[in-house]
């Protein structure tokens, strides 16, 4: 079935563009990059076709990677229903975003067309690693992809490497991810210790009979990794800063694919989690807390990309609520629909920014719906989807999650409903402030070229119909255990009502009575400040973790241990040698008689030694 072609095609694109791209004309770079991803997508379709019966997973073994004593880890790829869903999302939306990037990155400043070839090379490399992550048949191979996408995220966030904001954000992303990766590594060690292997089939086969506390520990450690990669509390802080990268990067990596790797990984390990209900509760609580908190922060942000970034964090929280409530397929369902409308929102935002020649603050926008109509109408599709308006895609997936959550714990359901309302509110706020009213800025808005709005249109269509075109829970029912969702239509009405209420409230505050928002912010100044400043989480982290660590490193480890102790010892040895030498130097007095005295002294010492130890007859 040649599964290896799926990731290798983008890898080839990376190598060609990375090594030779500097000398290629722009069109050649584009061709190589786009074709590698599109061909990969086509091969995915071919694979699905060739699989025939989708209920049996197919595995392909390529070579033995590590063989040492008890450890035997091969390079195996696995395809089952879950993999197919992820593959389609990654390659499909990846292709669309690649095409969009042709237009977005067309006018960069700098040598080599502003690093055009470098951008597409990194993007292709990212596709390679993400596909390895999804196709991997063992935790270790998944981890290879996990780390690789983290690397590409760093490279792409810091794409504008001459801006300190961007490089700092890249560092932050990588470092915070690393903390999560540490948890993941611990999980892998523990899995290996308990089950003797890292392959999915072997581990899950034995997991059903393992003691619960073992599985809970593994589950919690895996969740730490997922918190890092999928931006949950407490490791979400990197994602808003990651908006310093180019917008297609935000769309692809920080909305549709990389951040969903944590959700995928927990769904893949569903066997472990279903036998560790404690871990599941923790996941659900973290998910809903993150969803709520990020939504509150998103209410007050003025940078359009930041609004959507916090929205991503919030929606990822929803996915984990689904996973934590046992509805794995609901979580994956939301992953897919979120990929549609969030990628669309980001790409649309990129189109707006492109139209305004770089403006990102929504306070300087307005009335753009007449000026950039295609962007406007496509974003409307995403807007209604994310607000959970039936019968669009977001409604189905969010509803599935909330239903499952109610079955797990009603409190989570109610918080989720409030969050849904807030989600609808802040997205509507962004839309109203950007597209309605009168234009408050100074640029000359112009519509994007076709290469940019065609992907927008495709995604818009998917956002509208993707819900019933791709009924994921039914597709995945064969894999995951069914969850008794409370079939209460009342719950559904409440969540829809919350979404509509959010839209209506935003309409009131930003279209009918434009001054109302500012006066509300004035009266509720303290809470407004709190959420505007993101609850000062970054500042708290900086004060409690970053500065002590850096200070400790600098003062204790660098000056104290390294310069003081180690250099002291090494230099001290040298200095002592020099001192001994300068004393011994005095022996060389040049005076023959002193030499002779020393010789006499030596011979007396020898005689004494001979007498005491030499074995003379007593």
């Amino acid at each position: 079935m040649q599964l290896w072609l799926i990731p290798t095609l983008p890898l080839a694109g990376f190598l060609i563009n990375g090594i030779f791209g500097r000398r290629f004309p722009k069109s050649l770079v584009t061709t190589v990059a786009i074709s590698s991803v599109v061909l990969s997508f086509l091969w995915v379709l071919h694979t699905i076709n060739a699989m025939g019966d989708l209920n049996t997973p197919r595995a392909e073994h390529y070579f033995t990677w590590i063989q040492s004593g008890a450890i035997n880890i091969g390079c195996d790829f696995l395809v089952d229903r879950l993999t197919i869903v992820m593959l389609l999302v990654v390659t499909g939306i990846g292709s669309l975003i690649h095409i969009y990037s042709i237009g977005y990155m067309a006018h960069e400043h700098g040598p080599n067309f502003g690093g055009y070839y470098r951008f597409f090379a990194y993007l292709n490399l990212f596709m390679f690693f993400m596909l390895v992550l999804v196709l991997g048949a063992s935790f270790l191979l998944l981890f290879v992809g996990w780390e690789g996408v983290g690397l590409c995220s760093y490279l792409l966030i810091g794409f504008y490497f001459d801006k300190k904001v961007a490089t700092d954000a890249g560092n932050k992303a990588f470092i915070v991810n690393r903390i999560g990766d540490f948890g993941f590594s611990l999980a892998m060690f523990y899995i290996f210790k308990n089950f003797g292997s890292l392959d999915f089939d072997k581990v899950f086969h034995q997991a059903a009979s393992a003691p619960e506390w073992v599985l809970t520990t593994i589950g919690l450690l895996l969740m730490v990794g997922a918190c890092g990669k999928s931006a949950q509390i407490p490791l979400y802080v990197w994602l808003p800063d990651a908006m310093a990268g180019p917008t297609p990067v935000s769309a692809l990596i920080h909305a549709a694919t990389m951040v969903t790797a944590g959700v995928y990984m927990t769904a893949r390990s569903w066997v472990i989690f279903t036998h560790a209900p404690g871990a599941m509760d923790v996941i659900a609580i973290i998910g809903i807390a993150t969803a709520f908190m990020a939504a509150t922060i998103g209410l007050a942000q003025n940078d359009i990309k930041k609004v959507f970034a916090y929205s991503t964090v919030s929606q990822l929280g929803y996915m984990f609520v689904g996973i934590g409530s046992g509805a794995f397929s609901a979580g994956i369902y939301h992953l897919v629909t979120h990929a549609f409308f969030k990628a669309l929102l980001f790409l649309g935002a990129g189109s707006v920014i492109h139209a305004l020649s770089g403006e990102q603050d929504i306070r300087n926008m307005g009335g753009l719906r007449k000026k950039i109509p295609i962007t406007f109408w496509t974003m409307v599709c995403a807007w209604v989807a994310i607000s959970g308006v039936p019968p669009f895609s977001g409604f189905f997936s969010k509803d599935a999650i909330l239903l499952a959550a109610y079955g797990h714990s009603p409190a989570i359901y109610w918080i989720g409903v409030v969050t849904a309302g807030m989600t609808a509110f802040y997205v509507s706020r962004a839309m109203f402030m950007t597209f309605f009213g009168s234009y408050r800025g100074t640029a000359h808005p112009h519509e994007s070229p076709a290469v940019m709005w065609v992907p927008l249109a495709v995604l818009a269509a998917l956002s509208l119909v993707g819900g019933w075109l791709f009924p994921i829970p039914a597709f995945l029912k064969a894999m995951f255990p069914a969850v008794e969702g409370a079939e209460n239509p009342m719950l559904m009405y409440i969540s829809v009502f919350a979404g509509l209420a959010g839209i209506a409230l935003a309409y009131l505050m930003y279209v009918l009575k434009p001054g109302m928002a500012d006066s509300l912010a004035e009266t509720l100044k303290a809470p407004y400040n709190l959420i505007y400043n993101k609850y000062f989480v970054d500042e708290i982290y900086s004060a409690t973790v970053v500065r002590p660590l850096v200070g400790g490193s600098r003062i204790v480890l660098w000056k104290g241990v390294d310069a003081g102790l180690i250099d002291g010892i090494v230099n001290g040895v040298g200095a002592r040698c020099r001192d001994v030498g300068s004393v011994l130097r005095l022996l060389q007095s040049g005076s023959i008689r002193s030499y002779a005295t020393w010789v006499l002294f030596g011979s007396v010492a020898l005689l004494l030694a001979m007498g005491l130890y030499g074995g003379l007859p007593r």
Partner: protein, 103 residues
Amino acid sequence: MMSAVPISWFLTLSAILFALGVAGFLFRRNIITVFMSIELMLNAVNLSFVTFSYQHKEVAGHLFTFFVMVVAAAEAAVGLAIILTVFKGRSTLNIDDVNSMKN
């Protein structure tokens, strides 16, 4: 017995002569006197050799003495030539002044 000398007396005499040679080497400043002390030490050692040769009733000790004498002669010749050269350069026979190898 009156007509026999214990061998240890010879060796003690050799030790005393050797010590006197060392004393001359350490405490005198004239280069030539130092040289003569060296010859004194060599003589003391010669006496030792001959004594041991008597003890073992072998002739080897005498031969060692012979070679020591040859070497002492060669050494005296060359050494005095060196002293002559040094004297020509510095016009002093004080051993403490020959200290350019200091430090």
